[in-house]
Symmetry: C2
Subunit: 303 residues, 2 copies
C-alpha cells in the first residue's frame, strides 16, 4: 500500500508521520519546508508520544510522487484550485483520495474538477499545528472519521481505517453527510468566534454570554441538519462538543492561526457553503450568518 500525503502541515505531518512510524510506505509532499526536512527529518511532538522520522520520503513536486493507493489531501481549502494539478499523476481511478479538509461542499467541488477520482471525506478531531519548519506539535485528540463520498472500493476503505487505527490514529467509517455536518458543529462556532473576538476556545467558554452563544450557534447547525434529514447531529452531540472543548488545552483553531498570520481564511467552505445550503433548505442559521459577515469584514479590514 502506498500512502501519499499532500500537504505536510499540522494534520498531514502528524497523520502521515504516525503511518510512517508504524512502518507504512508513506510519501510526503512539502513546499517551503522541503530543504529543512531533507536535512533534519520530520519531528513530531505528541501527547501520545514524541517521535522523529530521520529520512522520510519527501518531494517538492507532486509529479515526482508514485501513483498511490491512498492520497491524503491536507491542504487548506483556499488552495483547492491546485488539486487538478497536484493530483494529476499521484492519483488514478483506483486511488482513494481522502480530503482531510474543513467545511461543507469540498467533495462536491473537487469531484466536479476531478470526475474520475474516488473521494472520501476525512474528519479529523485533533488539535495539532506546525510550529516550525518540519516540526509538528500534536496537543490533543486525534481521531479521524472517514465519510464515503464516491469511493466504490469499500474493502480498501476498510483497510485504510485499520491501517490508521493500528498506527495509533483511531479511525471509523461513518455516514458522509452526517460526518461533515457533525464536524461543522465544532468548526463553525469556534473557528470564527476566536477570530471575531480575538480569543481562544477556553475564554469563549468561560464567559457566560459567549458560552451560550456558542451553544446557540451549534443548535442552529443541529436544526439545519435535522431539516435536511441528516441524522445523528443532535443536542446530545452539542453537549459532547462543549464538554470536550472544556477539557481541551486552551486552543486557537486553524482559522484563528490563519488570521493571525495573515493567511487567507477558509470562509467559503466553513461558512458560506453550509449557510447557503441551510438557507436553501428553509432553515437559515442567523447567528452564523452574522459571524460570516464579521469574518468577511475582518478579512478586508485586518488590523
Amino acid at each position: 500500500m502506498i500512502y501519499s500525503i499532500i500537504g505536510t502541515g499540522g494534520i498531514g505531518g502528524y497523520y502521515g508521520g504516525r503511518l510512517a512510524q508504524a512502518g507504512h510506505n508513506v510519501h510526503f509532499l512539502l513546499h517551503s519546508d522541503y530543504e529543512h526536512v531533507k536535512q533534519h527529518g520530520l519531528r513530531v511532538d505528541s501527547v501520545n508520544g514524541d517521535f522523529h522520522l530521520a529520512n522520510p520520503n519527501i518531494y517538492n513536486d507532486a509529479k515526482k510522487m508514485p501513483v498511490s493507493d491512498v492520497v491524503v489531501v491536507c491542504l487548506k481549502t483556499t488552495n483547492n484550485h491546485l488539486l487538478p494539478e497536484l493530483l494529476q499523476t499521484v492519483a488514478d481511478e483506483h486511488t482513494i483520495v481522502i480530503l482531510i479538509q474543513n467545511g461543507i461542499g469540498v467533495e462536491e467541488d473537487a469531484q466536479n474538477m476531478l470526475p474520475e477520482l474516488q473521494l472520501v471525506a476525512g474528519l479529523a478531531f485533533i488539535c495539532t499545528a506546525k510550529v516550525a519548519p518540519g516540526h509538528i506539535n500534536h496537543q490533543c485528540y486525534g481521531q479521524i472519521n472517514l465519510g464515503n463520498y464516491s469511493c466504490n472500493n469499500e474493502t480498501l476503505l476498510q483497510q485504510i481505517a485499520e491501517d490508521f487505527t493500528q498506527a495509533g490514529i483511531p479511525a471509523a467509517i461513518v455516514d458522509y453527510k452526517e460526518a461533515r455536518w457533525k464536524k461543522a458543529v465544532w468548526n463553525m462556532p469556534f473557528n470564527g468566534m476566536t477570530v471575531a473576538l480575538n480569543t481562544q476556545t477556553d475564554i469563549l467558554l468561560k464567559n457566560p454570554a459567549t458560552r451560550q452563544l456558542i451553544r446557540e450557534q451549534m443548535m442552529e447547525i443541529v436544526n439545519a441538519a435535522k431539516h435536511q434529514g441528516i441524522n445523528g447531529v443532535d443536542e446530545a452531540f452539542v453537549d459532547k462538543m462543549i464538554s470536550m472543548t472544556d477539557e481541551m488545552t486552551p486552543y486557537s483553531p486553524s482559522m484563528k492561526l490563519d488570521y493571525d498570520f495573515h493567511r487567507p481564511m477558509e470562509i467559503n467552505y466553513i461558512y458560506s457553503r453550509p449557510l447557503k445550503i441551510a438557507r436553501s433548505a428553509g432553515m437559515p442559521m442567523p447567528k452564523l450568518e452574522m459571524l460570516e459577515a464579521e469574518l468577511r469584514f475582518l478579512e478586508d479590514n485586518h488590523y
Copy 2:
C-alpha cells in the same frame, strides 16, 4: 421657564448651550468639569455655528439647583441608579423630566423609582461629543423627538418643543413607543458593531458583508416592532437610516467611545431590554442577540 440640564456632556452641553444662547434660563449640573467651566465657560463648536457661554449657571450639586419647569437628563443610563438622588429637589410633580438617553425600558425603570414625576423620552438624532473639559463638538444633525411617557401637561410639552425649535434644535412631539423603537433601528446595529469590529460607521457601510448585516439587524428591529403593533418602524425607515449614515462624517457612536475609554457600555438598555421584549413578544432578534453576547464578552475581556 427654568430649564435644568443634568449631565453636561456632548448632548447636555449642546442642547443646554443652544437654549441658553437663545436667552432661556438654563442651569447646568457638572461633575468633573465644574472648575474648568467656572473659569473658562462652556465652548460649543457646532456645524450650525460655534458659540461660547462665558458665565453659564453651573452647579456641582443637584441639590443647589432651582426647582425647574423642565429637567433634561443627559446622563448615561449606566448612572440611572443616581436619578432619585439627583432629581430629589430639582424636579417636583409639575416638572417635565426629559430623558435624553439611549435604549428601551429607561422610562419604565425611572418611573418605578420616581412614581410622581412626569416623564418624556428625548430621542436625539445628533452627532456630538465632549472633546475636552467644557468643550463640546457638534458634528452633525441635531433633531430631537419627544415621546410622551407620563406627562399630563401637553401645553407645557408643546411649549418645550417650541423653545427647542426656536433655539435652533428642531423638535417634534412623536409617539413614545414608535420613537424609542425607531431610535433603536440606528442605535442597536451601529453602537455594538463599531465596538465588536473596532471600526466606524462609514467602514461598516463600505464593506458589502457588514452593510448587509447592518440592514438585516435593522430589519430584525422592524419585525419585532411590527409584531408588537408599533407603527412607523418600517423598511423605508431602515433605508433612510442607512442613507443618512452614508452621508454622515465617519462616526464613532457613544458605545464605541465608552468602550475605547474603558467606561461601562450601555448594554442593558440598548440591547438586553429590547431583546427581552422582542423575545417575549415571540419575535426574537437573533443577530442582535449575538451582538449582545459579543459585547458582554468584550466588556469582560477588554484588551
